[in-house]
Assembly symmetry: C2
Homo-oligomer: 340 residues x 2
């Protein structure tokens, strides 16, 4: 009996230690020294983020695939860009992307500033020849000039400043005060019994070995240092069913075979709002995503009760989305600049 008590005590200790690792989401995102967040920059960044005229067809803005009116993605398995073209990967949510230390599924951009320049010239996304061609479009809209000048000074209308503005806007896209955050901050009634059960199981089976930290995307690293995991790690029936290992992951970016099937560990924040799931968007349902992860990463077949509890816990990670006023996009004064 004494031995059992000691075991229970040790187990409680371990649960407390686990509990101490749970972190609430910060309510403000830090900005890099060379791109301090300002109100003007946020407003310009929001305009650029929402403006579809910087895609070849005039139909695709950043917001098309990262819809901030919803989960910061596009509800599609893989995104649809200009002329209905589709790519190979699922659009990651822009919400809380500031808490990632690298960007894209393969971490090929170090910062939000670097990332912002990517989709513009991707032929299956915004389809511009290059970022300079996109900047010609920006310059062809007279109303952008004073906004750039106000924000960045007289010669401020550059692609680097455009990217800085978009990144500054994105740093405002954070969703604190989820039931989980409230719980961690001391409101013990903020989560349901099932959510708490799921939270404990999430830690107990080892999900937290990758999905740790305030954003559930791994340890805090310096910008540019990525936290990657091999997915899938274990072979199983889901791998072929959902084509999980067809994408070489970070190897595509680095050319290094050691990076095969390595992906940046994604945030789990607001995950109920970002179906479908995984780098290829092949799994449509969050419960199935939990089953796949348990089997492919931890080699475990979860009882359905555990799946349901963990799904309930993941629902507690959905935070408060800030209200956003629509920007007014400047017109081109009687001329269209879209040609494609």
């Amino acid at each position: 009996m004494k031995k059992l008590n000691i075991m229970i005590f040790a187990s409680l200790l371990s649960m407390q230690a686990q509990a101490a690792d749970w972190k609430a989401l910060p309510t403000v995102a830090p900005a890099p020294a060379d791109n301090p967040t300002t109100a003007d920059k946020i407003e310009l960044g929001k305009m650029l983020f929402m403006d579809p005229r910087f895609s070849s067809t005039g139909t695709i803005s950043c917001n098309s695939c990262h819809n901030v009116m919803e989960g910061g993605d596009d509800s599609r398995s893989v995104s649809m860009g200009v002329h209905g073209k589709t790519g190979g990967r699922n659009a990651p949510t822009v919400w809380n992307s500031t808490f990632h230390s690298v960007q894209f599924w393969d971490g090929r951009a170090a910062s939000l500033e670097d990332q912002a320049k990517g989709p513009v010239s991707n032929p299956v996304e915004m389809g511009m020849r290059d970022v300079e061609t996109a900047m010609q479009r920006v310059r062809a809209i007279p109303g952008y000039k004073p906004v750039f000048e106000k924000t960045f000074g007289k010669d401020g209308m550059t692609i680097d400043n455009a990217a800085k503005a978009v990144a500054a806007f994105e740093r405002t896209l954070i969703t604190p005060n989820s039931p989980y955050d409230k719980y961690v901050n001391g409101n013990k009634k903020a989560m349901s019994k099932q959510q708490l059960s799921g939270m404990n199981k999430f830690a107990a089976i080892g999900c937290t070995s990758c999905h740790s930290g305030a954003a559930f995307n791994g340890p805090e690293l310096k910008i540019g240092e990525g936290f990657y995991a091999k997915f899938p790690t274990f072979d199983n029936k889901y791998v072929s069913k959902y084509k999980l290992n067809e994408d070489k992951g970070r190897e595509v970016a680095t050319g290094n075979s050691a990076d095969r099937n390595m992906f940046r560990v994604p945030t789990l924040r607001n995950i109920t709002d970002t179906a479908p799931y995984f780098h290829n968007g092949s799994v449509n349902d969050l419960g199935e995503a939990v089953r796949v992860m348990a089997k492919s990463q931890l080699n475990q077949t979860l009882p359905e009760k555990d799946v349901n509890d963990i799904v309930a816990f993941l629902g507690a990670l959905t935070g408060e989305y800030p209200e956003i006023m629509m920007p007014r996009l400047p017109s081109t004064s009687g001329k269209s600049i879209v040609e494609d």
Copy 2:
């Protein structure tokens, strides 16, 4: 000399009579008896208007082609719908569409309510099989149910109510207080000398024979009674250059050859923000659009000074766009409903 004085007097009388016809835009749009505008309805309508998940691909919302962050259109000659498909006509602005007594270029929808149901099942626009399939998508998003019930009561989740909500939102999309409106309302400094000169020429050469009234789209008619004009009326070099008579216009809708090349007279409000121009979006520049209209409708070749003055006047028709808060679109709780 007496005769000349009489002529001048008659001419002044005529100018005063013309001046008396200038009308400012109402600041509130009337609503039909069976769809009174309410705050709940506006909010629901805004959500539906902005939600791309009611298109087959999940990429096209009403706002995709009628972008209220800009001129209420899409800057394209013809719109691009699902899978990059394009149609044959230019997207009319949604701003002030409430002041049209029929909808679409060919007037085939009587009301905003009727219009709202059209693009959903158009294969080159939102691409749903039919409106009921679109409503299945709405029903598959749990968060819409309470909003419909709050707005329309317990069994309120119908396509007709969805259309009513969208129409109620659209009735808020009006842009009063343009320099022209301020001028007409008594502020004689609100328009520049060139704009006033353009205003007089606009009336003198006969533009107002069609583009009359507060929205510059013809006489006030009952909903469902359209004001149409044949375009082009006179043959000229522009007709072939811009393929102006290839679209049979209202004949396509009615099957009546008397309706060949008949189009609803569009509003000129905010026209500097809605390039490119005409039913086929073939003219990219507002000055050229003025030249084409003068020649094709009034059989006149305008001096360039008159073109520039009229363009300046048209710039005075750009009003104040109301600020719009982005709606929060309800999520699908861990399941994607987009399949195409």
